[in-house]
């Protein structure tokens, strides 16, 4: 059973760590790009950007 638990812990924690790394990378990069170039954003219209 220890192998099963080890497999699950490694699998889920690696997926979680990768997901958090992507979110952090996205957050850092999106600060460098103008909001109107981030088409997925739904809050664009509400945000004052000066453009």
């Amino acid at each position: 059973m220890s192998y099963v638990i080890a497999g699950w812990v490694i699998g889920l924690s690696a997926l979680g760590a990768y997901a958090f790394a992507l979110l952090a990378r996205g957050r850092r990069l999106s600060r460098l790009v103008a909001p109107d170039r981030q088409r997925w954003s739904t809050t664009r219209a509400d945000t004052p950007t000066g453009r």
Partner: protein
Amino acid sequence: MTVPTNPSPDLATPSATASAPLLTSTSSRLTQVLGIGWAISVVLVVCAAFWWSEPDATQGELVRLFYLHVPLAILEYVPFLLCGIGSVLFLWKRSEWGDLMAHAGAEVGVVMCALTLVTGAVWGRPTWGTYWDWSDVRLVTTLILCLLFVGYLALRRVPGDPTTRAKQAAIVALVALIDIPLINRSVEWWENRTLHQKGTIAQGKIEDINAFATLLGFIMVGLGIAFLMTHRFRIAWLERQVDRVGLDDAIAHRRAEAATGVDASVGRTPEEGGQQ
């Protein structure tokens, strides 16, 4: 080299970013729904794997790792195939979206493939008696797939002309994809050279609550891939925008120099300056 210049850099100015706190991520309603769905499915599949499902008649408790390893092993092909589709779109139509999708698919695919190998090794030790078997064709061809796409990602980091690099990467991706049918058919073609069993899922050889746990595993990994792919694609898009802004900045810099006749970066004329 001379090119027509384009005056509209997309860089978010400090004042713009300061006033746009809500726009600092790759998240959207879609990814929020995917993320919540993924988190719920993780909880459900862990419950199904450890509490709701029964031990297997042969494997006993070890079958509980099946619900993670098998969905990873099968669905890892999805990001790689998206990488292949993106590569074809780039080579055929010079599609920028295709190139970005290819890059995102390769990275997510490598993560999934590496996890397939690791969870498989952990399962293999008590089941087969070894973490790794060099004569198992499925294992080795899966490792080769992972390595080929690691090479693809390394190739994408080599500095140079982005179009040439994207073209080379697309060709590497399409060559690497030839490995997928090899992995898939290896248990049939080299039956005596593989410890892997023939297709359990395809032949419906898993039933009842264990089949339900497997289905939940597929949903969990599928939602995870959708979530990761969406974020990774947006990151690739943002990286492309940042690169473009850098180029636009450089052009604006040269334009300023051309107007004043002074190398603005070092404060001297080209005649005085020579190489930087």
